[in-house]
Structure formats: structure tokens, C-alpha cells
């Protein structure tokens, strides 16, 4: 596009591009900052999008860019696909979509490095820095790509959500990573053998698969967040290849921010990042419905009975979980809550940090069902309130309300912060059966004196409750 400009402007064009890159970076930094709090988050996302637009438009004036057919074609095709995916996706499938987008981002960075290598006829024209950057960009980008798609497969059920592993796999993975770094070093030292590049690419793709496969399905959000950080680093490495400041700065920014966010997510689950990556949590979990329920009794309730209990309560807390998302019951929950509120019952929602399939996912689902977000209470906010709550409706949640997290030091979830629903006057568990949750352990709450079970599909049970409320 620079060819349309007069000579005088061309002279200062490279400097102008750098200045606009600086402006774009400012938008990114401000955008991420605004994304930190609910009131300004949307504006923050728009800021970041404006930064991206500036970055792309300014780059088109780069004097190296002389042909535009592929550029226009690529942007139109990619833009349409992105638009379609973003518009069509169900809110429940959000984690899967982020995984896919992230995979594409990682792949793009690897392709940029590879393309730059293939574009130059003489490989020896690259200096050591360039070759190392190409190697790292391909390595991180490729493993982000395959890793993200394995995470996608686990979330959507194409691949077993169980931790698939065998002893020594972690050692092999770490060994393969170190070996790849060694190969990249050798590639930079002696780039004359093109096979080496293919070996690096191949191993990197494989590492993405073998390092995500052993991690259980419930940990996928953390994995995606970590891979998100990687794709930022891959972009920064591509920036070193092209000596492009905007790529380096934005990539580093996302890489670092993603790492912090990953850490915050791990803390919410009371686990360390290393434990998530190498722990293979849940690997030993028995099949659903593990034995041991035989001699304990549970109290069952019916829609009619429950309707009376909640209609005459003064405070009801709803604790939604993964099962609610699966049953797509968020809209009917809202209907029930509205009916109760019109009777003067105070209704709040207690959201565990890892409820749903991804931290914050449950908030998105309930927001979609028009639940005002000031009624959505974080764990720390809602826990002191249970003591004054009449009825807690636990819908499709299990491990996050399991008292064993506080009482059984040998259990797999010991130490995980939970919602203290057992302090309420009554708890109602909506569940299909007495089967175990993700952690694979029994839940003593089900057998507690104050608890009643409402068996069945969460959506159907709530519909029954909703109808029964008309009769009360």
C-alpha cells in the first residue's frame, strides 16, 4: 500500500509505523487492565480490538508488503469463519471454542516462522538469532496447536476425559522437550540439513498431544489458559523472527498475563500448576456409581413437597454446577427463582470458583439466562450466609459441596475450598443418581440428616418444581 504514497512520506514511513505500533500496544495494555473488573470489561475488550485493528492497518503500509491478493483473500476467509463460529456457538460450548481459537493462534505463529523460512531462497541468509527464533516459534506454536485440540477433544467428549497415562510418561515428555531445544540449537548452528526442521516440527506436534492427554478433563480450563499463555510466547518468538516490535510486545504481554491468570485459576482449586500438569488427578478414580452406598440411607423428596419448602422459606440459595450446564437448565432455574422472588423469598446464587466447565463459566451461563449478576455470589461472599439460609438447592454440583474436603486428610480433594452448604437448615441435591463426582469419591452430604435428594435430570426436575409452585 506504500506505493501510493509520495516520496517525502515514504522517508518517515518506517518511523510512523513504529509509532502506531506503540499506540496499538497502549490499547492492548489498557484493554487488558479494563478486562480486570466487571463494569469495564466490555470496554476493555473493545480497546484491545481497536489496538488489533490499528496494528493490522498500519502493517499494510509496510514497504516490504507489495502483493495484496493473498492478504485480502486470507482475511476474508478467516474473518467469515471467525464471525460464524463466534455467532453460532452455544454459551455452554464456550471453553471448547476458546480452545479451538487458541489452537489456531498457535498454529498461525508456527506457520509465520515456517513461511518466513520458506520465503527466503537461501537458508544461510538467516543469522543465529533468526534461526533460533524460527525453531522456538515452530516448537511452541506447534505444541500449542495440537495441545489445544486435544483439550478441545476432551471437553467435547471426542477423547476420554479421563487421565490417560502410564508410568514414566512425564519423564518422556520432559526429555522430549529438552531434546527439541537441543535440536533447535543444532539447527541454528548448522541449518544446511532441512530434515532437521521437519524433525523439530514433528516432535513439537507430538509433545502437544502427549503432554495434554495425561491430564483429566476437569483440568482442561487450566490447560487452555496455560496454552493461551504459550500462544502469546509463540507470537513473540515470531516477532523475533521478523524483528517486529508489535509482535514481541503483544506476545510477551499475553504470555505473562496468561501465566498469572493460570496461576489464579489453580489457586481457586487449591492446587499448584505443577500438580495440574504432572499430577494426573483423577487417574485412579473408579467407575461411576462406585460401591459403598449400600448401607447408608438417603431421604428423597418430590416436586410438590419441595415446592412447599421453598415457597415458605425466607432465604433460598441456589448452588449450580457442571450438571446444570450439561442439562441446559439455566433458563428454568431463572424461572423458578423469579417465581420465588415474586413471593417475597430472597434468592441468591452461590458460585464456586470452578463451577461449570471453566472458571467463571457458570456466571456466563446464568447471565445468558438473564440472572442479574449482583445476585451471583462468589464463594467467599456466600459462605457466611449459609447459616441463615433456609433451603439450599444444589443442582448438578457434587465435589464443590463435599464436606470430605474439610474432614478427610487422605482424600483426593482434601484442602479444596468448598461451599459450606451443610450450615444451612436444609439442603436439596438435584442429581440423577448417587454416583460419584469427578474426583471419584462418595459425598457424605447426600446421607446427612438435613439433606434430601431430588433424583432425576436437572432440567426435568426443575420443570416439575416450577409447575408445582403454581399449585402452592
Amino acid at each position: 500500500m506504500s506505493t501510493f504514497l509520495p516520496e517525502t512520506i515514504l522517508n518517515w514511513l518506517p518511523d510512523a509505523i513504529q509509532l502506531f505500533y506503540l499506540v496499538a500496544t497502549g490499547f492492548f495494555i489498557r484493554g487488558v487492565k479494563l478486562l480486570n473488573s466487571p463494569g469495564t470489561a466490555r470496554k476493555g475488550n473493545q480497546f484491545a480490538a481497536i489496538g488489533m485493528l490499528i496494528g493490522v492497518l498500519v502493517t499494510l503500509f509496510d514497504q516490504d508488503i507489495v502483493e495484496f491478493e493473498l492478504i485480502v483473500g486470507g482475511i476474508v476467509i478467516g474473518g467469515l469463519i471467525g464471525l460464524l463460529l463466534a455467532k453460532k456457538v452455544q454459551m455452554t460450548a464456550m471453553p471448547e471454542l476458546v480452545a479451538v481459537f487458541n489452537g489456531f493462534g498457535g498454529a498461525a505463529s508456527a506457520l509465520v516462522a515456517w513461511g518466513e523460512l520458506a520465503r527466503n531462497p537461501d537458508i544461510l541468509s538467516f543469522d543465529t538469532t533468526g534461526l533460533v527464533s524460527i525453531g522456538l516459534s515452530v516448537f511452541i506454536g506447534a505444541l500449542t496447536f495440537t495441545g489445544s485440540f486435544i483439550a478441545f477433544g476432551k471437553l467435547s467428549g471426542f477423547i476420554s476425559g479421563n487421565a490417560i497415562t502410564f508410568p514414566g510418561l512425564n519423564v518422556i515428555n520432559i526429555g522430549a522437550m529438552i531434546a527439541t531445544l537441543g535440536l533447535i540449537g543444532y539447527f541454528a548452528y548448522d541449518p544446511s540439513n532441512p530434515t532437521l526442521f521437519w524433525v523439530i516440527l514433528g516432535i513439537s506436534l507430538l509433545i502437544g498431544v502427549t503432554s495434554v492427554i495425561p491430564i483429566g478433563g476437569a483440568d482442561m480450563p487450566v490447560v487452555i489458559s496455560l496454552l493461551n499463555s504459550y500462544s502469546g510466547i509463540a507470537a513473540a518468538m515470531a516477532g523475533f523472527v521478523l524483528q517486529n516490535n508489535l509482535l514481541i510486545v503483544s506476545g510477551a504481554l499475553v504470555g505473562a498475563a496468561g501465566l498469572i491468570l493460570t496461576n489464579i485459576m489453580c489457586k481457586a482449586m487449591n492446587r499448584s500448576l505443577l500438580n495440574v500438569i504432572f499430577g494426573s488427578f483423577g487417574a485412579a478414580a473408579g467407575g461411576p456409581g462406585a460401591s459403598g452406598n449400600g448401607d447408608k440411607t438417603v431421604r428423597e423428596t418430590s416436586a410438590e413437597d419441595l415446592a412447599i419448602q421453598v415457597a415458605y422459606a425466607s432465604k433460598v440459595v441456589i448452588v449450580p454446577g457442571y450438571g446444570l450446564a450439561v442439562a441446559q437448565a439455566q433458563h428454568i432455574v431463572k424461572e423458578v427463582a423469579t417465581k420465588l422472588e415474586s413471593r417475597g423469598v430472597q434468592v441468591k446464587y452461590g458460585i464456586h470458583p470452578v463451577a461449570g466447565r471453566m472458571p467463571g463459566h457458570m456466571n456466563v451461563l446464568l447471565a445468558e439466562a438473564d440472572v442479574p449478576y449482583d445476585l451471583l455470589k462468589d464463594m467467599d461472599e456466600i459462605n457466611p450466609e449459609f447459616a441463615t439460609t433456609d433451603v439450599v438447592l444444589i443442582i448438578g454440583a457434587n465435589d464443590v459441596v463435599n464436606p470430605l474436603a474439610k474432614t478427610d486428610p487422605t482424600g483426593p480433594i482434601y484442602g479444596m475450598p468448598i461451599l459450606n452448604v451443610d450450615e444451612a437448615k436444609r439442603t436439596i441435591v438435584f442429581k440423577r443418581s448417587l454416583s460419584v463426582g469427578y474426583a471419584g469419591i462418595d459425598n457424605p452430604l447426600f446421607y446427612a440428616e438435613k439433606n434430601q435428594m431430588f433424583f432425576g435430570d436437572a432440567k426435568k426436575s426443575l420443570q416439575a418444581l416450577n409447575e408445582a409452585l403454581n399449585e402452592v
Partner: protein, 97 residues
């Protein structure tokens, strides 16, 4: 324009520090949108893809750049739009009050 490697590393390190400082006490409500928004920004690699696809050189390299543009654009456009879709729902409720 020849650029000094130390300068690039300097920029990289500073930007990383800013990234570490930017995320502080994010409420869990925003974890998903924040991840998704940051993910869209990592699509910045589109800038690199533009340079590779639009510059002169071996056709193979340019076509690889073309593929990179498609993937990066999906990441950027889809990422920002889906994040906006999520955040729009939070926003709406606040205005009603």
C-alpha cells in the same frame, strides 16, 4: 532497518513485566472472558502473517503465510466477538437497575 538483539530482548522482558502486573485480583466471574480476550490478543501474530504473505519471495513461503493469515484472522475476529458476546450479557443487567 537493522535492530539490535539486546534491544529486542529488552522490549520482550519489559512487556512481560507489564503482563505480570496487569492481572491482579480478577473476580472468578471474569476468568473466562479474560482468558478469551487475552487469547484474541495473541492473534497479533496476524501482523507477522501479513508480512510473510505480502512480501516478495518463494511462492511456497507466501502460501504458508496465506494459511497463517486465515488461522490468525479466525483467532482475532472470533476471539474478540465471542468475548464481547459474553461481556454484553454482564453489562445488560447492570443497566437495568
Amino acid at each position: 532497518m537493522e535492530v539490535d538483539l539486546t534491544l529486542l530482548l529488552f522490549i520482550f522482558a519489559l512487556a512481560s513485566f507489564i503482563g505480570f502486573e496487569l492481572i491482579s485480583k480478577v473476580p472468578p466471574t471474569l476468568h473466562t472472558p479474560l482468558m478469551s480476550g487475552a487469547n484474541a490478543i495473541s492473534g497479533i501474530t496476524i501482523v507477522g502473517a501479513l508480512i510473510v504473505a505480502g512480501s516478495l519471495g518463494n511462492p511456497l513461503g507466501k502460501w504458508i503465510g496465506f494459511a497463517a493469515i486465515i488461522l490468525a484472522t479466525i483467532n482475532v475476529v472470533g476471539g474478540f466477538m465471542v468475548t464481547d458476546r459474553m461481556l454484553e450479557m454482564f453489562k445488560k443487567k447492570e443497566d437495568e437497575k
